[in-house]
Amino acid sequence: MKKMRRWVALCMAAALVSSVTACSSGTSASSGGAASATASAAPASAAAGGAAGGKKLVVGMTLYSLKNEFTVRLSNAAKKEAAKLGNVDLKIYDGNYDPNTQLNQVETMISDGVNAVILNPQDAKACAACVDKAAAANIPVIGVNTRVDSDKLTSYVGSQDVYGGELEMQAIADKIGGKGNIVVLDGPLGQSAQLERSEGIRNVLKKYPNIKILAEKTANWSRSEGMSVMENWLQSFDKVDAIVGENDEMALGALQACKGKNLKIPVIGIDGITDGLNAVENGDMIATIFQDAAAQGSKALDVAVAKAKGEKVEKNYWIDFEKVTKDNVAEYKKRAQ
């Protein structure tokens, strides 16, 4: 009985404390019943206030990870652009490769009263929930770098992944003379970059019936996973003529595996991260397809701010992929600061 009483008392105390403090927090318009309705009123009026000038705009950005070079470049570019524009408060969140975490973060952003959300989703379908939540609160969502399956998305800033896949497959096809056995390292299954780059690779392969894919597996954008997968493939296949990595990290991992066996196999990646550019420079990779993270990040912020101010924005902003070979790598090394 004593346990029960203590239990009930504490629950009531907690309920009392939270209701008292919730009622007394005067800043937000929300109260008791109509929580979601009034929550949507608050950011809309904040946005209008921003357009009137002077008031700081708040933008929340969630990336599927902040633990790899490419996404860190994306977020740094957005931060730099926000600092340049001046009256923008940018908050950055690490989604930890988990769509549920990203959903939690978007909900937190909405409570926080952001004027716009920038979304770099882990999964094209699972993160649609993030867009729905923000749209329900009348907050614009700008997708960046990787797609999300939602027609409620305000705008998308990115590179044409299908084209990127085509560029890299074509480079390999040219290198091996249109025939041979290749292996492909995929990004996380279900992320739009993986889906679309794979599509691009297949588009090009239609032209080359003599190129066979021995194996294709996801290495989740990770260098260490790419290395393990490649080591296993080198064990099981007699001859691999080329390696197509859907990003530099995995390609570099595969490269390590080959070096471990003293093999020199043509490798290609996408992104143009520092190590990738170095590998192209010293001939380890035949090329890489540069993805301009800096341009994507700063453009996404620009679009978010513009929309928050009530300006009209386009549905898509495309930033080109650029092929980097030994000839032009020096220029890219300078750019990718």
Binding site: T21, T27, Y93, L103, K125
Partner: protein
């Protein structure tokens, strides 16, 4: 019998001291975050926080029972993934009412949890190893079931579970409350609860006094599995897609919640609502640090520190 009673009472006082510390800790955290960010206590943020806590909450409830018997369940994250995937596969059939995928998810949790229970209680494999093995096995099953592809296109009625509200209260929060009530009854209202404490406190004494120790141990892992299955269902419904990597590392927060709440990893001591406080502390930390836009790298350090400090306090209590 008498010895058991005396131990129980002494443990009571120690426990009270521990819980008091954690509740004070929770209130301090809430106050700090509110001062730094008044929006923290907005009603919609409170509901966000509770909704975000619901998945870890269900895992921590199950974990409490397991830890009370002196065991540990490292596989709950993978069970979340496995249950979620099979629930999603079922929910792709829009003709089936929502209860079917839910039962499938719970069923998977029940089966995997039972396997854990058998391996620990009958085959005498240490819980750490047994559940570590299940962590891998369950994750492997999940990837096999879908070839690592996501499972989208779930029925609308199923999606209500994770995304819907009853009035203003999110359904996942109601599910968590239901879980707390259920576990309260199991632990404090039925003889079963006493047996769980008894087995954790002194397994030999429990066996001698007639408690079916093997059955109790098997049952707590089964309960942990079922609750993890439920968490998997809620998670999948929330993100509206079955993901093979869902739930990865979720066991860490669950264990942290239980330990912070004052349940001793040695077994036999602890309180259910200590776990609830622990769950709230983790949720407040996650939500509050996000509200303050603290860098994710710092968040990892802060969370780890809080957990270690809690364990130190726990061991100090133990040695008194």
């Amino acid at each position: 019998m008498e010895k058991l009673e005396k131990n129980g009472r002494r443990a009571d006082v120690r426990q009270f001291g521990m819980e008091f510390a954690t509740v004070v800790g929770l209130i301090v955290l809430i106050l700090v975050f509110t001062v730094l960010k008044p929006k923290f206590l907005d009603v919609d943020n409170i509901f966000n926080l509770l909704r975000q806590a619901s998945i870890n909450g269900l895992l921590a409830l199950g974990m409490t029972f397991v830890v009370l018997t002196g065991g540990i369940d490292l596989s709950v994250g993978s069970i979340v993934g496995a249950a979620g995937i099979f629930a999603a596969l079922t929910a792709q059939n829009h003709q089936l009412p929502w209860i079917v995928p839910v039962l499938v998810g719970l069923g998977i949790g029940l089966v995997l949890g039972s396997v854990n229970g058998v391996v620990v209680s009958l085959l005498k494999v240490p819980a750490f190893i047994a559940t570590l093995g299940m962590l891998s096995i369950a994750r492997g099953i999940t990837y096999l079931a879908t070839d690592a592809q996501p499972v989208p296109g779930l029925s609308d009625s199923f999606l209500v579970i994770g995304g819907g509200n009853v009035g203003v209260v999110p359904i996942p929060v109601l599910i968590l409350i239901a879980g707390i009530v259920l576990c309260y009854f199991l632990l404090y209202r039925l003889k079963y609860g006493r047996y769980v404490f008894g087995v954790g406190g002194n397994e030999n004494a429990a066996r001698i006094s007639g408690i079916n120790v093997k059955y109790i141990i098997w049952s707590v892992y089964m309960l942990s599995g079922v609750l993890a299955g439920l968490a998997g269902v809620v998670l999948t419904s929330r993100v509206s897609s079955g993901l093979a990597q869902a739930g990865q590392s979720y066991e860490l927060d669950a264990i942290a919640s239980v330990v912070i709440g004052g349940t001793s990893l040695a077994g036999g001591r602890g309180r259910l609502w200590g776990t609830v406080v622990g769950v709230l502390i983790i949720a407040v930390l996650n939500n509050g640090l996000d509200m303050l836009a603290v860098s994710s790298y710092w968040q990892l350090i802060i969370k780890g520190t809080v957990i270690v400090v809690a364990v130190i306090v726990d061991s100090l209590n133990n040695n008194e």
